[in-house]
């Protein structure tokens, strides 16, 4: 572009926005090292005591594992069902294809609170207790539309020819799907899984409504907060932040290294 605004006002705007965006993050991390009892100024010398407290909180570390389990299982289910539905509709377009698409995508338009509430009432009426499994079920409801939409949007004419080519050369349904379609679609399948995991990991209200004693991480943080605003929450929050970033970096580097792998 030949008509760029000069660097200085641009730089200032960007700096200002980034300051605003990072303010709470900085406060979070800074006061996790607080040696005093309150996560507010003045900050007394750096101390790791709150990290020790957080990591020795069994319920906290337990909720971390719960979050990973719920996230992994629900994301896997959403990704698999979403992929099959997208591929199925793509291969054979039944007359009801448009209606099916609307049905599968509709949960996106509904607030998580309503999804959670609906499930809670149904489970209650059916006598099914609240549990992590219930939370997982709820998370699949909110993630399935996304997986379906993402994968469906990537199925184009070029893929149709590849699908036809595989069948032309003698591959049956399963061989075509496993040897050709899934490998070619792997980037969007992985992206769907990662997005679902991220949303599940961070999800609060459905987890609150549908869990009982065993909780996920966001609900645990909420519990901690209700007990009192101490730097332990900061420490827990910072730990979550670091885990998330490390996971993202690992996932990103895996996707960059992928093309070199032998088929």
């Amino acid at each position: 572009m030949t008509f760029r605004i000069s660097a200085i006002p641009v730089g200032l705007l960007i700096a200002a926005m980034l300051c605003f965006i990072y303010l709470p993050v900085v406060v979070l991390i800074l006061f996790s090292f607080q040696s005093g009892d309150l996560p507010v100024p003045p900050i007394d010398g750096p101390s790791l005591k709150w990290y020790v407290k957080a990591l020795s909180n069994d319920r906290l570390t337990g909720s971390l594992i719960n979050s990973i389990l719920v996230g992994a299982v629900s994301s896997a289910a959403a990704t698999v069902m979403g992929f099959l539905a997208a591929y199925g509709l793509f291969r054979r377009r039944p007359a009801s294809a448009d209606a099916i698409r609307v049905l599968l995508i509709s949960p996106i338009a509904v607030s998580y609170l309503i999804v959670g509430l609906g499930l809670m009432i149904v489970f209650n009426l059916a006598g099914i207790g609240r549990s992590l499994v219930a939370v997982g079920i709820g998370h699949v409801v909110i993630n399935l539309p996304l997986c379906f939409a993402i994968i469906y949007s990537q199925l184009g004419d070029h893929l149709r020819n590849i699908d036809n080519a595989a069948r032309d050369l003698g591959a049956g349904d399963f061989a075509t799907m496993s040897r050709i379609i899934v490998p070619v679609m792997l980037p969007s399948v992985i992206a769907s899984f990662c997005l679902s995991f991220t949303l599940s990991w961070d999800e609060f209200i459905i987890a609150l409504l549908l869990s009982r004693f065993e909780v996920t991480l966001p609900v645990m943080i909420f519990e901690l907060m209700r007990a009192g605003l101490t730097p332990e929450v900061n420490a827990a929050g910072t730990i979550i932040f670091c885990i998330s970033i490390i996971t993202a970096v690992v996932a990103a580097s895996l996707t960059i290294l992928r093309p070199e792998r032998k088929p």
């Binding site: 572009m1 705007l13 960007i14 926005m17 609307v102 809670m120 209650n124 409801v141 609060f204 929450v233």
Partner: protein, 282 residues
């Protein structure tokens, strides 16, 4: 007529269809029914009455919750768009490509703090003895701490922070795909930077803004945690009112009714905007 060869593909969509029907459509249908029931001390009675609906509109505090929700959501949506658009615009057109990626990455990083944790962090920032007040007191700009925490402003702040992040990304993605040919043509015909922005870029980004605004609206109006942590009890929004019905009296009928109201609100807004929202292009 020739027989069509059998293809397993027709069965592939069924798991997703059945799942959605069982765990999404069914609960919604149940909620509609339950909204006509009543919670009594003896238990849940299937009375089939519109009592709950009447009750809602005759209780001022519930109507206030609804109106508050609408107000807060509109303010949040407007502020978020107004803040995010210039940022996205500058990134898309006035920063060199390699810096774009870097700044975006930096802007996205805070996403990885948990949503609950972020609201909590803002509480720390704005509370009476938090970092903001401490700084202002230290510089002498104010004499006593400004009360921001546990007010509507705090709730809006928490929301806007999240949505500026989200909207910057979506608006940037939208702006970047505007063909550079349009801009070159406008430039070639003598348009200034401002004209290009006002007459070409802005009109072309309206669908993107509409989608972003709609998303912001829908997520905000149904959000429980941000107003709960930051807003305190001075003001109750609709999601909090719904949760109170559950937590205090397990009043499923009332909660269902209010949830349906929330959904109708969202559908109404979708109806208003659906011309701009091409959901089938998802």
């Amino acid at each position: 007529m020739n027989r069509k060869p059998v293809d397993a593909a027709q069965w592939l969509a069924w798991p997703a269809i059945l799942y959605t029907l069982a765990f999404f459509v069914l609960p919604l249908a149940v909620m509609v029914c339950v909204s006509f029931w009543v919670r009594r001390s003896s238990g849940l009675e299937a009375d089939w009455t519109i009592d709950n609906y009447v009750k809602f509109f005759s209780r001022p505090y519930l109507i206030t919750a609804l109106l508050n929700s609408i107000e807060v959501t509109l303010i949040t949506t407007a502020l978020s768009v107004v803040l995010a658009y210039p940022f996205a615009y500058v990134l898309a057109f006035h920063v060199s490509p390699k810096w774009q990626k870097l700044v975006l990455l930096a802007a996205v990083l805070p996403f990885w703090t948990s949503y609950v944790v972020r609201s909590y962090s803002w509480l720390l920032v704005i509370s009476d003895n938090g970092i903001l007040n401490s700084f202002l007191l230290w510089t002498g700009l104010i004499a006593t701490p400004i009360k921001i925490a546990y007010t509507r402003a705090a709730t809006v702040l928490g929301f806007v922070h999240f949505f500026v992040l989200l909207l910057t990304l979506t608006l940037y993605a939208n702006l970047v795909q505007i063909s550079p040919s349009y801009l070159k043509a406008a430039e070639d015909l003598g348009a200034s930077r401002w004209s290009v922005l006002w007459r070409i870029i802005l009109p072309l980004s309206i669908p993107g803004i509409a989608v972003g605004a709609f998303l912001t609206f829908v997520i905000t109006i149904g959000d429980y945690i941000t107003p709960q942590i930051l807003g305190g009890n001075t003001e109750v929004l609709l999601p909090q009112a719904i949760m109170l019905q559950i937590v205090r009296s397990a009043n499923f009928p009332m909660a269902s009714m209010m949830s349906l109201l929330l959904m109708l609100l969202i559908l109404a807004v979708y109806g208003l905007f659906h011309r701009h929202l091409k959901m089938d292009r998802l």
